[in-house]
């Protein structure tokens, strides 16, 4: 990583050096001298931004895959195995994508780069909260998510370079800071997956999940309604959330009216048939 970085910088100096000899630019001009400096500053920022965007894009792809994987849990015989696979994938994302992002953001104003990684971060939160819902049936707190994106500062060979460039944080940790709004938006997206989960559950003969999800989503909906129009994104996602909620409510309704038709003595039969079919 650090080697690559250094190489990158070296390349640039090389390119610039070569250019110098060829160009028709008047290097003695103070304007040109100033702009050479601006160029470097802009390039550094853009490059950092680009690197973060690329990492974030990978996070998005991998998180989406994790969500797809988690959907396979329903009706699967290897529930625990799949959940393990999912959390492994998430840990891998944290180690191989978020840690480098945290390094890029060290001592920076994160809001300068937030747009570069917001979509990846939200998708990751969606995946992680989805995992947690399947595993523990609840909502994982922001602090707990934040802990997963907090890393001990690297102690490897390139630490000297890092040290020189910036002040290491006192506690020896680096983070990908999660602004609360990002957490909220990621959680809002979770509800879409929960809706899919419910519909799939109904299909697979799982009659418990829908009611559980329905309750959970009603709480979420109430929370979002109370938050209100603080942010345009929240309003938009509240609308989607309500639509998802109604789909889940309809699923529960269907279960109820269909369930009403089962002769009591057949119920167990049906359930066992359904789960093996």
């Amino acid at each position: 990583m650090a080697d690559e970085k250094r190489k990158h910088h070296f390349d640039k100096r090389d390119r610039r050096g070569k250019r110098k000899s060829e160009e028709k630019v008047d290097e003695s001009s103070p304007v040109i001298a100033a702009f050479r400096g601006y160029q470097q500053e802009l390039d550094e920022r853009y490059d950092r931004y680009e690197r973060i965007i690329k990492l974030s894009r990978d996070v998005t792809i991998e998180s989406k895959r994790t969500i797809f994987l988690l959907h396979r849990v329903i009706g699967s015989e290897d529930r625990e195995g799949l959940l393990q696979q999912a959390i492994d994938k998430l840990s891998e994302i944290e180690a191989s994508k978020f840690r480098p992002i945290a390094e890029e953001l060290k001592d920076e104003d994160i809001y300068q780069f937030i747009r570069a990684y917001t979509s990846g971060l939200q998708e990751y939160i969606e995946a992680l909260t989805f995992y947690n819902f399947l595993k523990n049936c609840g909502l994982i707190k922001l602090e707990d998510v934040q802990k997963r994106l907090t890393f001990t500062a690297a102690d490897d060979s390139n630490s000297d370079e890092t040290q020189q460039k910036t002040q290491a944080p006192v506690d020896g940790h680096i983070h990908v800071v999660i602004p609360p709004i990002e957490y909220i938006l990621g959680v809002a997206d979770l509800t879409g997956e929960l809706m899919r989960l419910t519909l799939n559950s109904v299909g697979k003969g799982d009659f418990e999940t829908p009611y559980k999800v329905c309750d959970f989503m009603r709480c979420m909906h109430a929370a979002f309604v109370t938050m209100g129009s603080m942010s345009r994104d929240v309003v938009r996602k509240t609308t989607v959330l309500k639509q998802s909620l109604q789909k889940v409510e309809n699923a529960c309704y269907t279960l109820k009216v269909r369930g009403s038709e089962i002769p009591k003595h057949m119920l167990i039969n049906v359930l066992t048939c359904a789960s093996s079919g």
Binding site: R218, E249, C252, Y253
Partner: protein, 227 residues
């Protein structure tokens, strides 16, 4: 430089306008916060067992309209005579929501249709346009359409909660509403559009009654009527 002086006058004038608009917006935002809280409370009727707690839910929401009345009156004082329609867009949304809340509360309490006058009284504004800050007919009607939509959702959740009589009554109520709206020659775009949604709400509750009927779950008429 006559031009300069003239424009300086305008500047004073424009600043005053902007201040006024800002004040109105803040007052409205403040009311929105209350409306949101009332909304959250009333919507808890959808929750599992919520339907059984309807009376206590209504009891907690009902007095909150006093605060609304006060705040709406303060808002009304901000708006200069003749300029209701100038700033109308700012409070239109929240007034529609309040009309809905009043209508939903009334329905939950008595399963009746709230009148325009009652809505106006409950939210502390005038009934007639001539009297100043009033409840626009459009906004009242929008509130009723929101009610129909919420009731179709309630019918779904009532079934889930095992209450098979309520959907039948809701179907009748929404059918009446639909017939009422059909008498109107709506032009207003947003009202018209929302009204098109009423058709789906009605269809939805009719299908619920159908589902109950075909499975023999529909209670007899006496059971339906005894609220």
């Amino acid at each position: 430089e006559g031009v300069k002086e003239i424009f300086q006058d305008f500047q004073v004038y424009l600043e005053h306008e902007q201040k006024l608009r800002e004040d109105i917006r803040q007052a409205v935002q403040n009311i929105e916060q209350n409306a949101r809280e009332m909304m959250t409370l009333l919507l808890s009727v959808h929750q599992q067992d919520g339907i059984k707690q309807t009376p206590s839910i209504c009891q907690s929401v009902s007095p909150m309209f006093h605060v609304i009345q006060e705040k709406m009156r303060s808002l009304a004082e901000l708006v200069p005579a003749n300029q209701y329609y100038r700033f109308n867009d700012i409070w239109r949304f929240v007034v529609q929501r309040l009309a809905f809340l009043a209508a939903f509360l009334t329905y939950l309490q008595s399963e009746t249709l709230i009148s325009r006058t009652t809505v106006a009284t409950m939210i502390g504004v005038e009934v007639n346009r001539e009297d100043g800050f009033h409840l626009d007919l459009d906004d009242y009607l929008q509130g009723l359409l929101q009610l129909a939509s919420e009731l179709s959702r309630l019918a779904v959740n009532a079934v889930t909660a095992g209450d098979y009589a309520r959907p039948i009554r809701i179907a009748r109520f929404v059918g009446d509403l639909d017939a009422g709206f059909r008498l109107l020659n709506l032009k207003n775009d947003s009202l018209r559009k929302r009204f098109d949604g009423l058709k789906y709400d009605l269809k939805k509750v009719e299908e619920i009654v159908y589902d109950l009927t075909i499975r023999g779950l529909k209670p007899n008429e006496t059971a339906v009527q005894s609220i």
